[in-house]
């Protein structure tokens, strides 16, 4: 039993590594999103030739500036998609960790009994706590990924109607907040699993 718990703790460490990668991607995504949204917020202003002041003497300048900005926006949107793919990679590997962990309890004997699952040795977590914890972490990241996906896929549409740029601020805040991954809850899971290491 104890050795299985050790194996689970190993899995939690792997999840932690994935979550570190997630945080890196998160800050990358935020900066990409805010770059995109500052371009989108400018689009209306730069399309209006009345805003060109002294630059009016340069023929066709507004089209050139607009074209350049659209080009950069395109590039940013592509890199956002790349970041999303990497997020997806993390979600997949969390799924795999959960799948493997289910195998782990079955491996030794037949289905463990409810009693075995809830059996506690010292400060070590029970098997049920380990299983639930992993599943919960996976679910959090899975739903957060889906949320992010829907937020970033709203971007191109917002670029077409920049008047609703107020939405951009709200969307960005949503990305920053990551409502599906409550920090305290994550910490709570880790506190239980690694209770022995808390001094």
């Amino acid at each position: 039993m104890e050795s299985i718990v050790k194996k689970y703790q190993q899995k939690f460490r792997r999840v932690k590594d994935e979550m570190c990668r997630w945080d890196e991607l998160q800050s990358r995504l935020i900066s990409q999103f805010s770059n995109a949204s500052s371009i989108i917020q400018r689009l209306q202003v730069i399309q209006d030739c009345r805003n060109y002041g002294a630059l009016k003497c340069v023929e066709d300048i507004e089209n050139a500036v607009l074209a350049k900005q659209m080009e950069s926006l395109q590039t940013i949107l592509l890199s956002i998609n790349k970041t999303m793919e990497e997020f997806h990679g993390i979600v997949s590997s969390l799924e795999k960790i959960v799948r493997d962990s289910r195998q782990l309890v079955k491996a030794g004997s037949s289905q463990p009994t409810a009693k075995q699952l809830k059996q506690r040795v010292g400060v070590k977590p029970t098997l049920a706590e380990c299983l639930d914890g992993l599943r919960l972490l996976e679910e959090m990241h899975q739903s957060e990924y889906l949320l992010k996906l829907s937020v970033v896929s709203a971007l191109p549409a917002l670029a077409l109607k920049p008047s609703e740029s107020g939405d951009l601020v709200a969307l960005q805040q949503l990305l920053v907040d990551q409502p599906n991954i409550p920090r305290e809850e994550v910490q709570f899971i880790y506190d239980i699993v690694f209770a022995e290491e808390i001094s």
Binding site: N51, A54, C57, V58, I61
Partner: protein, 316 residues
């Protein structure tokens, strides 16, 4: 850049009918020419990095000017007291603001304003000096383009072949009869690629000059009188000399050529500058500074990739 008149247009090898060089001469010429081209192109490569940092420094100074001006505007009328310690960004509302207990201090308003004015003056100075750096960088680019050829020096019957990179003898076109220097490209092709790129920077520099002029114009008439500069003014001593080298100064009109987009004709209408700038216009100015409409980054990278491939140098 009008293709008709540039004084620095590369000399095509057809202009001079140099007899095809003997293979011995080519054998001697090639290593010297290769070394020269490698040096010149790595110069160009570091110059484009220099441009990038000068342009981005310029952009942050420009942003500071605009922000300072806008924050004066947005806070205009806001009644605040005891803020005169935050001298950073608040000029405009000095007028409407209440100094509270501080109003008893002699000349407090005047002192605060003059301090703020000094701050803005600092940004203006920095922007101008970034512009100056950019002119110097582009000037060096143009000089580099002009130094791609490699001429035989001294007498041909000397046992020691020596080469120079400045023209000494009119009969030598410096490209060894247009033979490939490395694998395929002649000196003229290298020059053509270099000019293609440098022209982008030249026209972007000219556009930035207009932006600098406009950004230096931003000031608050309540705080101080700034003598704005106009297009025909020399922004700093010696600017016109450098601009004529870049073909950006017209001897005819005795003022700098008006900016235009790459490949377009520069406009004949005069620059009209308004003193009071609206925040949208300022945003457009900053965006225009940022996007560098005249510089096609992909093409520039491609040019360096082509040249790098040819001479087996990695410029990235």
């Amino acid at each position: 850049m009008e293709p008709k008149t540039p004084p620095y247009e590369s000399r095509s090898q057809s202009q001079k009918s140099t007899p095809p060089p003997s293979s011995a001469a080519a054998r001697l010429w090639r290593p010297a020419a290769q070394r020269n081209l490698r040096n010149q192109w790595s110069n160009l490569n570091s110059l484009r990095q220099d441009w990038r940092s000068a342009a981005s420094a310029g952009r942050s100074h420009a942003t500071a000017i605009v922000n300072s001006y806008l924050s004066q505007n947005t806070t205009l009328g806001a009644r605040r007291t005891l803020v005169c310690w935050c001298f950073g960004m608040e000029v405009r509302y000095m007028d409407g603001m209440e100094f509270g207990v501080l109003s008893d201090m002699p000349n407090i308003r005047k002192k605060a304003c003059s301090k703020l004015f000094k701050q803005q003056e600092l940004y203006r100075g920095k922007l101008l000096s970034s512009y100056r750096d950019m002119v110097a960088i582009v000037t060096r680019m143009v000089n580099t383009c002009k130094s791609m050829r490699c001429y035989l020096r001294g007498t041909s019957n000397s046992p020691l072949a020596q080469f120079s990179f400045s023209l000494e003898d009119d009969s030598d076109s410096g490209d060894c009869g247009g033979i490939p220097v490395f694998a395929f490209y002649s000196v003229a092709s290298f020059e053509e690629l270099a000019w293609e790129m440098v022209r982008m920077f030249v026209s972007e520099l000219n556009l930035k000059r207009l932006l600098v002029m406009e950004l230096l114009y931003i000031y608050d008439e309540k705080v101080a009188k700034v003598i704005g500069i106009c297009w025909s003014d020399e922004f700093y001593d010696g600017e016109f000399d450098e601009l004529s080298l870049l073909n950006l100064y017209s001897e005819e009109t005795r003022e700098p050529v008006l900016p235009c987009l790459r490949g377009c004709k520069s406009s004949t209408s005069a620059v009209q500058s308004k003193q009071q700038q609206d925040s949208n216009v300022l945003q457009v100015y900053l965006t225009t500074w940022l996007v560098e409409v005249n510089i096609d980054r992909c093409r520039v990278d491609e040019i360096f990739a082509i040249v790098g491939g040819e001479m087996h140098v990695d410029f990235s």
